[in-house]
């Protein structure tokens, strides 16, 4: 290994998306060229994936009754975790909370539809801000912050699809939050510290299991695909660019 080779700490930070954008790009190029570095990085990515995937079924389990009762007894309203998302969903799908931005989007809406996979364990995925924007929260916000399309698990409750730069210089990502009855599909763009949801639609999911290596944009509703086409500048991010964008905390052109 030459002196210019990345050390162990640098490679681990690369795997964890913790390097500055320019360094992420440099290491990505080295990894692409060098089999020994690639073996190490792929091994560490496999470890991360294996650990995280092992907990995936647990994340979809209902919380235990005694914990729910404890939460309720602690004056966490009378709303059990299972209902938090569903209530949020209903609130989200009203014109009052959506505001003019939603009215401008020609997308299909289902009122009061529970995505029951989330109803069991997840909190609200979306919220309205005082300025009338709809932003991601909870599991959706975390997935948009952290998940890479290239390494995510096909059974993840929230999956990201395409990541791209929009005409306003923002980093944007498409997402799917899939339930057994309906799926919520949308586009979120990072702005300040929030993911602002700029378009969304609900669909009835494909009954077939998702293929493990499904294309990032596959299964995207037409209305979302059209919205991406209107917004995108250049090509969607490849795996390397996606990793760099994550390392830059989805800062868009501000990271350049």
């Amino acid at each position: 290994m030459s002196q210019s080779d990345p050390d162990r700490t640098t490679l681990d930070a690369f795997v964890d998306g913790e390097l500055p954008a320019s360094e992420m790009t440099r290491i990505a190029a080295l990894v692409a060229q060098r089999a020994d570095l690639r073996d190490y990085v792929e091994g560490q990515e496999r470890l991360r994936r294996t650990l995280r995937d092992s907990f995936a079924p647990l994340m979809n389990e209902a919380l235990p009754e005694r914990l729910q009762q404890s939460v309720q007894a602690s004056a966490l309203r009378s709303r059990a975790p299972g209902w938090a998302w569903r209530d949020g969903f209903r609130e989200f799908f009203t014109w009052r909370t959506l505001g003019p931005a939603a009215a401008a989007l020609a997308v299909g809406l289902f009122v009061g539809v529970a995505v029951d996979r989330f109803a069991a364990t997840e909190g609200a995925l979306l919220r309205s801000t005082a300025s009338g924007q709809t932003v991601a929260r909870g599991e959706l916000s975390r997935a948009l912050d952290e998940q890479l399309a290239s390494t995510q698990n096909p059974v993840d409750a929230v999956r990201v699809g395409l990541s791209f730069r929009d005409k306003n210089g923002r980093d944007c990502r498409t997402f799917t939050a899939e339930g057994t009855k309906n799926s919520l599909n949308g586009i979120a763009c990072h702005s300040e510290s929030d993911w602002v949801v700029t378009a969304f639609a609900t669909t009835v999911p494909n009954s077939n299991a998702r293929a493990p290596y499904q294309m990032a944009g596959a299964g995207m509703p037409d209305v979302i695909r059209d919205a991406v086409n209107d917004m995108i500048v250049g090509e969607p991010f490849d795996a390397s660019a996606e990793r760099v964008a994550r390392a830059s905390h989805w800062a868009g052109v501000k990271s350049r």
Partner: protein, 171 residues
């Protein structure tokens, strides 16, 4: 209850699955993990006004959980339970040592429990929960260099346990 406090409480509910996963990674068994989450939520709600708006709610909650775990780890009961479950599950099955191992969470917990506690916490926050180094170091109250050192040792220990020889592929 004002609207902002209501929002925070709702956000706490949304964190519960992640908190439970973190608690499982720390304790290695459901009963103790659920106790830890319950204690964490109750303490957070009692001290809700100590949380600073504009800072990460999840980091604050995870820090409470971590501190509670440290406070209670001295409990002989907790230690006995964890060790018993490790023995019962016989660590990671040999079948996991393939290219794309599929582990159950209990098998992962068994592997995690073979690590020193400080490495386990670091792995749980960064590799499993996906926190940034900065946020994980903040939760654990250590410098980032200490965190990355714990992560490296934890990675080696887990890779050895799960994949057998992966740590030997280091360039």
């Amino acid at each position: 209850m004002d609207a902002s406090e209501d929002t925070i409480r709702s956000d706490i509910v949304a964190l519960l699955p992640r908190l439970r996963r973190f608690a499982l990674a720390l304790t290695g068994n459901r009963a103790d993990a659920e106790d830890l989450v319950q204690d964490t939520v109750e303490r957070a709600l009692r001290h809700l006004r100590q949380w600073q708006p504009g800072t990460r709610l999840d980091s604050w909650m995870f820090r409470i959980a971590q501190n509670l775990f440290i406070d209670e780890r001295r409990s002989a009961r907790r230690k006995r339970t964890a060790l018993a479950e490790v023995a019962q599950s016989a660590t990671v099955r040999d079948g996991a040592r393939d290219a794309e191992a599929r582990l159950t969470w209990s098998e992962t917990c068994s592997a995690l429990l073979t690590l020193p506690e400080e490495q386990r916490s670091a792995i749980a926050l960064v590799l499993i929960d996906g926190m940034s180094y900065r946020d994980a170091a903040d939760v654990l109250g250590v410098p980032i260099g200490t965190l990355t050192s714990r992560l490296a040792r934890g990675r080696d220990g887990l890779a050895s346990k799960i994949f057998g020889t992966m740590q030997d592929k280091r360039p």
